[in-house]
C-alpha cells in the first residue's frame, strides 16, 4: 500500500471575511502526480504556500511524510522542493551561481549535483549566463532545477509551464514523468494548460472559491460520463435532425462546421452508427473521444 506523502485536514485560511481556503481535506499518496485545477484566485497557490510553511492556516493541520507538528514538520519540509509563483532567482548571479546559493541552503557540497540538475532541465550550455538575461522559459527551468537540487521526495509546482515554449512544455512533461518513474518523486502540480496536465496527472483535485469541490483519479476521468462520441459529417443539419427526431438525443454539442459531439451517456456508439447508416447519412468519421479535463472542469464549476 502506498504511503501518504501529504494530507490536509480541515485547512482553512481567512483574510478578514474572505475565505481563501475553506475546510480543505485532501491526501496525496506516494508516486502520485496530483493535478490541481482551479481558476486564478481559487486558492491553489495559498494551499501550496501552506504546505511550504509560508502561510499559517487559520484552521486545520497538514501532515507531510507522516509528520505534522512543529520541528518534525520543519524536518519533513527539508524533503520537499517548491516552485511557487515566479522562480526565486538572483538576477546578478548566473544559473550555476544561483544553484550554488541554494545548494548551501540545503547543506549540499556536491558540485556534481548542480551539473546533474542543470543537465536535467537542459541549461548546461547557459549556466554561465546571468539569469537577468534568461528568457521566462529558462527561468522556469532553472526554478525547477532549484526545486530538484536536494533530490526531494515531494515536489510542489505552481504553474511550472508558464512561459515555456511548446518544446519546453513537452520536455518538462518528460522530466516530471521520469522523476516519478525513476526516483519515486510525488508531485503536486497546478497549471492552466489543462490538456498538458491531463497527460501527466494520475489524480485531479478541482478547487473553486477556496473549496475542494471534487477529486477524481485519471482512470475515473477517462471512464466518466464525460467521454463523448465524435461524429464527423458534412451534413450536420441532417445529422442533428436524426439525433433529435429518430434517436431522441438533445444533449449534443456542435463543435465545428462538420463535427457533433454526443455524450457517451446519452447514446451507444453502435446504435448511432446503425441509425446513421439506415438513414443514409454520409459519415466521414465516428469515434470515442476521451473526456477532456477542460470540459470536465467547466461542467463542474458550471461554466
Amino acid at each position: 500500500m502506498n504511503t501518504t506523502i501529504f494530507q490536509a485536514e480541515g485547512i482553512s485560511k481567512h483574510y478578514g471575511n474572505v475565505a481563501a481556503l475553506e475546510k480543505i481535506n485532501m491526501a496525496i499518496t506516494e508516486g502520485d502526480i496530483y493535478g490541481f485545477v482551479g481558476e486564478n484566485g481559487s486558492g491553489k497557490t495559498t494551499l501550496m504556500k501552506v504546505i511550504s510553511g509560508l502561510i499559517h492556516p487559520t484552521q486545520g493541520s497538514i501532515t507531510l511524510m507522516g509528520r505534522s507538528k512543529g520541528r518534525e514538520l520543519a524536518q519533513a519540509r527539508k524533503q520537499i522542493g517548491v516552485l511557487i509563483e515566479h522562480p526565486a532567482l538572483y538576477p546578478h548571479m548566473n544559473g550555476e551561481e544561483n544553484l550554488s546559493f541554494y545548494s548551501r541552503i540545503h547543506g549540499l557540497s556536491d558540485a556534481h549535483r548542480i551539473e546533474e540538475v542543470l543537465s536535467l532541465v537542459g541549461l548546461t550550455d547557459t549556466r554561465k549566463k546571468k539569469t537577468s538575461d534568461y528568457s521566462l522559459g529558462m527561468k522556469q527551468r532553472l526554478g525547477l532545477a532549484v526545486a530538484l537540487l536536494h533530490s526531494p521526495k515531494f515536489l510542489v509546482l505552481d504553474e511550472p509551464m508558464n512561459g515555456l515554449d511548446p518544446g519546453g512544455i513537452v520536455e518538462m512533461r518528460h522530466v516530471l514523468t521520469r522523476l516519478v518513474k525513476e526516483q519515486g518523486v510525488t508531485i503536486l502540480i497546478s497549471s492552466h494548460i489543462l490538456s498538458e496536465l491531463q497527460l501527466i496527472a494520475t489524480k485531479f483535485g478541482f478547487i473553486h472559491k477556496g473549496r475542494l469541490i471534487k477529486e477524481v483519479l485519471a482512470e475515473e476521468l477517462l471512464q466518466s460520463a464525460k467521454t463523448e462520441i465524435c461524429i464527423q459529417t458534412p451534413e450536420t443539419r441532417a445529422a442533428i435532425h436524426v439525433l433529435e427526431n429518430v434517436l431522441n438525443i438533445h444533449s449534443f454539442i456542435r463543435s465545428g462546421a462538420n463535427e457533433i459531439r454526443v455524450p457517451k451517456s446519452a447514446a451507444d456508439l453502435e446504435q448511432l452508427m446503425t441509425v446513421f447508416i439506415e438513414q443514409g447519412m454520409p459519415i466521414e468519421g465516428i469515434h470515442l473521444s476521451a473526456a477532456s479535463l477542460e470540459h470536465y472542469y467547466m461542467d463542474l464549476i458550471g461554466g
Partner: protein, 265 residues
Amino acid sequence: MRNFLKAQAYFIKKDTMFRGISLMFLVASAVLAFWVGGKNNFEVINPAQPLILLTQLSLFLYFVIPTYVCFFATEGYEYGSIKLVLASGQSRFAYITGKYISVLNFIFVWLIQFFGVYYVCYMAAALFTGSAIGNDGLKTDMLQIIRVLGLNVLYLSAYAVLILMVGIFIRRTASAVVATLLVIFGDFIFSGYCREASSLLLRELSGYTLTTQIMKFSGVYVVNSQQVVLSGMKSVVEVLVIPLVIIVICMSITYFSFGRRDIHA
C-alpha cells in the same frame, strides 16, 4: 542555521552592491588618510594617533551601512528567495537570526577595512615623507580607539537591527530604503535641531538619540559652543544602555511579527 549563514555569505560575496560599497570604503579611507594626514604633514605623535583623527569621521559609516542593511534585509522578498529558504525547513527565528549575524559580519569587515586601509595608507605616507613617529600618550590613545571602535560596532548593530525591523515590516526594497533614510536623517535632525530647542521635552529627547551618543563618543558633539564628551558614570551607562535597549526591543518585535506573518514574496 549554519547552512543559511553559508548561503548568506555566498550571496554577499556575489552581491554587486556589497562589492561597490566595499570599493567605496576602500577609496574613501585611502583619500581620508591623505587628506587628514596632509593637513598636519603626516605627523604621528604616537602609532595610535592617526586613528584618533579618523574616529571623529566615523559618523560617515552610519549613512552607508544602514542603507545596505536595508537592501540586505529585503532581498529575500525582492527576489523571492525567502520562500525557498522557509520552505526548506529553516525556521523563521533562524531566518531573522541568520540575517542579523550576517549583518554583524559585514559591519565588522567594513570597520576593519575602513580603519585598516586608512591606517596603512597614513603610516605608509608618514614613512615615505620621513615624518617622525613618536610615542607620547600611546596608552591613552589606544584605550580611546578601542572604546570608540567597540562603541561603533555596538551602535552600528543597533542601527542594523532597527533597519532590519523596518525592512522586514515593509518588505518592498524601494519603500524600505525611503523609510531607512527617514530613520537615519530623522535621528540626525532630531539630534542636531532639537539640541537647542526651547521645549524641554525635545531637548531631553535629543539627548537620547543614537546620533547624539555617536557624536559624543566620537568627540564631535557640541552644545552652546561647548564640546560634550563622555564623562562620568551616567553618560557611560547611557551610551551603553541606549543601543542595547534598541537591540532588545527591535529584535523582539521582529521575531514576534515575522513569526506570525504570512509570506507573500
